[in-house]
């Protein structure tokens, strides 16, 4: 356990020193959302109607951006071999790296989301649910994405391949994430949707580290 924290600390330190990855994801998120009022037109009721969907889709694409590098840099410089040869179970290594990835790219998205919701004139009733839903959804996306990131190691043009592999798997998160916010705005209970999002997260925690570790072992052979 102590060793898993070491790995997380190292990844966080690397992310802070280099900064670009997490900044890129959040800037992309903001830009993508800001493009919608320009494209769709400034009518407040249309924007308010699509706000939840736009924010979720943009968050989904933004979290894709940095996933490619989750294992790639460690793979390229040989660190991944040594991590696999460390006395830590590879599943735990994956989990530590995913947590660090989420803290540096998922959390900034959650922080930026309410500001963008204001920009899109979203009903204030949906704000809390939006934050909670993103709080449950972004770690799920990081976890599912880790499987894709492990599978593309060694492939050419891995980034494109990664989106093809992973985006379809994000659909349930998208559906229930948007539904939760829409329910809150429409005055219905958001709880069932949030419960399903929690279920997805728990399922991802239970399954994804094993799948990622298995495909990492494969890529190291």
């Amino acid at each position: 356990m102590r060793r898993a924290f070491e790995i997380m600390r190292r990844d966080l330190r690397l992310a802070l020193r280099q900064g670009v990855d997490s900044l890129m994801a959040v800037v992309f998120f903001v830009l993508a959302v800001v493009l919608f009022p320009l494209g769709v037109g400034p009518e407040a009721n249309i924007l308010a109607r699509i706000a939840a969907g736009v924010i979720w889709v943009a968050a989904l694409l933004a979290s894709m951006l940095s996933l490619e590098r989750l294992f790639q840099t460690d793979y390229d410089d040989g660190s991944l071999e040594l991590l696999a040869l460390s006395p830590v179970a590879l599943e735990l290594v994956v989990l530590a790296k995913v947590v660090a990835h989420w803290l540096t790219t998922g959390v900034p998205l959650i922080v930026a989301a309410p500001v963008l919701a204001v920009l899109l004139d979203m009903d204030a009733q949906g704000f809390v649910v939006l934050i909670v839903a993103l709080g449950l959804g972004t770690p799920t996306m990081s976890l599912i994405g880790s499987v894709g990131a492990a599978l593309i190691l060694g492939a050419r043009r891995g980034g494109v391949l990664l989106s093809l592999l992973v985006l379809p798997l994000f659909i349930p998160v998208l559906i229930f994430g948007v539904a939760a916010v829409d329910a809150a705005i429409g005055g219905f209970a958001a709880r069932p949707h949030l419960m399903i999002l929690s279920g997805l997260l728990i399922g991802a925690v239970a399954l994804c580290p094993w799948a990622s570790a298995a495909s990492l072992r494969q890529s190291l052979e």
Partner: protein, 219 residues
């Protein structure tokens, strides 16, 4: 098979297949406390593959690698805890200083994270605060090799460790290996250059290269 006392780390009838090509077959090895084994052979004879088999990164297509009689595949984490592996790449992060890089790997192993002594072993104390991005190939290699001294592990698996090293650093490495062996450690090194190791055994991988297929050889 009767083993000499002290022979802990053994390989039995190992077969290695890479990309549908048989690299070696019927390979046995035995490494005891204080032993050093030099892996020699032509390019592609499977030196690196054998080291990866020993580390558990590769699974053998046939045969088994055993530690104290038990296959290393049964408890890979326990095997990982007793080995140091130095491969072709130097995992030195550009954004971290040499000391930070080394401290991370040391704490991930059995070390304490105090790395000044380990850096001195390879005459690299002055590099301690230099970020990885400014290191030359040889300095990166030294920073990587310093892992050997920064945390305790019985088994050292070194894949061409002298690549990019100057004569002074090579002699530092030889001293470190000698000290490790004197303390009962084991070393397996693949190499193309002659290394000054007392009493090291040679394992020539070419001997185990693909034998001509009896069916193909028949007229």
């Amino acid at each position: 098979m009767a083993l000499a006392p002290g022979t802990l780390f053994t390989g039995h009838d190992l077969t290695c297949i890479r990309g549908e090509r048989l690299v070696f077959a019927g390979l046995d090895f035995a490494i005891g406390a204080g032993d050093a084994v030099l892996l020699v052979g032509a390019n592609g004879s499977g030196k690196s593959s054998l080291l990866r088999l020993m580390a558990g990164l590769l699974r053998p297509a046939g045969g088994a690698v055993r530690w104290g009689g038990e296959s290393i595949a049964i408890d890979p984490e326990a095997h990982n805890a007793r080995l140091h592996y130095v491969g072709h790449l130097d995992p030195v992060k550009a954004a971290l200083t040499v000391a930070e890089n080394l401290a991370f790997w040391a704490r991930l192993g059995n070390g304490s994270g105090v790395v000044t002594e380990a850096l001195k072993t390879f005459d690299s104390a002055s590099l301690s605060d230099v970020p990885g991005r400014f290191l030359s190939a040889g300095q990166k290699r030294r920073a990587n090799l310093a892992r050997l001294a920064a945390s305790e592990a019985t088994l050292w698996l070194l894949d061409e460790p002298t690549t990019a090293l100057d004569a002074a650093a090579t002699s530092c490495l030889m001293k470190a290996i000698a000290r490790h062996r004197a303390g009962g450690g084991m070393v397996a090194i693949s190499t193309h250059v002659e290394l000054a190791l007392d009493g090291a055994r040679r394992l020539d991988l070419d001997t185990f290269a693909r034998q001509p297929d009896p069916v193909e050889a028949a007229p």
